[in-house]
Amino acid sequence: MITDAAGLGRARATAFVLPALVLIAVFLVFPALWTIYLGLTDYRLTGLQAANPQVVGLDNYTSALGDPRFLSSLWLTVAYVGGSAVIGQAGLGFALAWVLRTRRGTVRRLVEGVVLLSWILPSTVVGFLWFALLDRDGGTLNALLGTPGFAWLLDHPLLSIIVFNTWRGTAFSMMLYSAALENVPPSHLETARLAGANVFQQLRDVVFPLIRRHVLTNLLLISLWTFNDFTPFVLTGGGPEGRSEILPIYVYNIALRGGELGLGAAVSFLILLINLVFALAYLRLLRGRRRQEATAAAGGPPA
């Protein structure tokens, strides 16, 4: 077997790869390892420990896991991911893709354009637009609903950021599902319709089995993105009283506002571990499906 198809030789090949590897090492691997190290120290932004941090072992981890603020933040994050990514973006994105699937022309282009616009605008711009929308005194929403003085961001902070992130991220799911639905042969749907299947049965029996892999991949990506999303900070800053303080905002608040860099690093590492568990679970689901298909293709269960 020829492994050196380009005929570069080991030295030149290494020279080509090296710059990229150096960049990855400096900006990705080193900070990650540095964070793990920091998580084991009492490093602070200011004061004595800023100059001379001491290794404190797993103290940061035990204090984080015992901190009710961390646990409530974790719970808020789960609700945020479930509400805005899984139900909001994936659900609404699929619904839009399904409805637009047979539409052509102006209506489709208009809806796609609007949905995409909310995705490509810069976060800070979008944040201030939503601030103007939800503001207590001069807000557009209160003017529309005729509820002057209703403080959306103070009374329903979690709901506000869930709706906000759904609005913001639906475009990705919609585009991914649109592409996936293109792969569903019309004759399969028509066979189901001729058998008398309603829309729910068509989705259950024809569409979802065919696009299952797209659905899983989409859920993996958007839940990871949403889990690590910092944008809600622009709207609520994590408040009031930490009621919208999802994990990335929690880390920011303790590490940079509170100055406890060591604790912040430890929590960051915990977030990384949770992300890993997410990814592994999805990959298992994908691979499990593939193994079943492989078994079936290899001769199936004994008849």
Partner: protein, 347 residues
């Protein structure tokens, strides 16, 4: 029985796919819709199925007006060109799918699927996934699924065209016998004239959203009503030669032929002769079309001879072993002929 009255379908953008179609397909009849691509045959089938909504006109299946009913309530089953077998279900579940939607209990469904599968020689494959089946087996699964729900009519959309040539002939015979046994009204769409001739009780030849001719295979083959049908039907295309009538005779590519009644002096006609009904004479004849042998094509049991006659090509099929040599002169003598004036059959 399926009857269509004034069925018209105009697509957005103005394409008139069906133009005031009137048709009655009798109980148990095997009816073929034949035509080139874009002639509206598939649109007609899909409109009967309820997958397309007609612009005007109505559809009755067994006397019930189904024009506004959704596909699932028309009691028809369709087999698609790509079979549309669900890849994630095994053969049993695929065959029993319409029964599942009708809430037939699981045990009953499995029994019914096994019974239909036995009839289509699929009994050993009930637990296989579609990916493990050959093309012919997949086609029979699609048929089995259509049969399992006992519909009032079968609608077939070119179900044989994805099979290779040899298998297609076997499947054709099988399909015809199955339809005879089940005696279910069947509408079959094809662009293959040989398939339509072989399978159907009656054929409708379609062009540009209209039915050009409806008749039995024998009628369509022997007396195509227009030059379009004449050129479309037959495995070797019919010779269509221009001619004129003068003084009670037809002058066609150098031959003088007897003129049918009803032709005026100087009328322009098209003279149609199937290559199978064209003889070759070695000696000059006044009623023969003179030409030079230009091409020989072996058809197995015969040879297709192409004569070059002035600007025209004239084809004849001769028995194997009796073909002339290339370049020699021959006279093509029609044994059976058709005369068309303005594209329509005269005699």
């Amino acid at each position: 029985m399926i009857s269509l009255h004034g069925l018209t379908k105009v697509f957005p953008g103005g394409v008139r796919a069906l133009d005031a179609i009137d048709l009655t397909v009798a109980d148990g009849e095997f009816f073929a819709l034949l035509g080139p691509s874009g002639c509206g045959k598939t649109t007609l089938l899909r409109t009967i199925a309820g997958l397309e909504i007609p612009t005007s006109g109505n559809i009755r299946i067994n006397e019930a007006d189904v024009t506004r009913l959704p596909p699932g309530r028309r009691d028809v089953a369709m087999v698609f060109q790509d079979y549309a077998i669900f890849p994630h279900m095994d053969v049993t579940d695929n065959i029993a799918y319409p029964l599942r939607i009708r809430k037939v209990p699981r045990a009953e469904r499995v029994r019914k699927a096994a019974e239909v599968a036995r009839r289509l020689s699929l009994a050993d494959l009930l637990h296989r996934r579609p990916a493990q089946l050959s093309g012919g087996q997949q086609q029979r699964v699609a048929l089995a699924r259509a049969i399992a729900c006992h519909p009032a009519a079968f609608l077939f959309d070119e179900p044989l065209s994805n099979l290779d040539a040899r298998l297609r002939l076997e499947a054709r015979t099988f399909l015809k016998r199955l339809q005879r046994e089940l005696a279910v009204t069947t509408v079959f769409v094809t662009h293959d004239q040989a398939e339509a001739l072989a399978l159907a009780d009656r054929i409708a030849v379609m062009s540009a959203g209209r039915m050009v001719q409806i008749g039995t295979p024998a009628e369509i083959f022997q007396r195509p009503s227009t030059t379009f049908v004449a050129s479309f039907i037959g495995s070797t295309p019919m010779n269509l030669l221009p001619g004129t009538s003068t003084r009670g005779a037809l002058h066609v590519a150098g031959a003088v032929r007897a003129a049918p009644a009803g032709l005026g002096e100087g009328d322009e006609i098209v003279y149609g002769v199937r290559p199978e009904y064209m003889g070759l004479s070695e000696t000059e004849r006044q009623d023969g079309i003179p030409g030079t042998v230009a091409v020989l094509e072996n058809l197995g049991t015969g040879v297709l001879v192409t004569l070059e006659s002035g600007d025209h090509l004239v084809q004849a099929v001769v028995p194997e072993g009796s073909e002339p040599a290339l370049g020699v002169r021959r006279w093509a003598v029609p044994a059976r002929s058709l005369v068309y004036r303005d594209g329509a059959l005269l005699a």
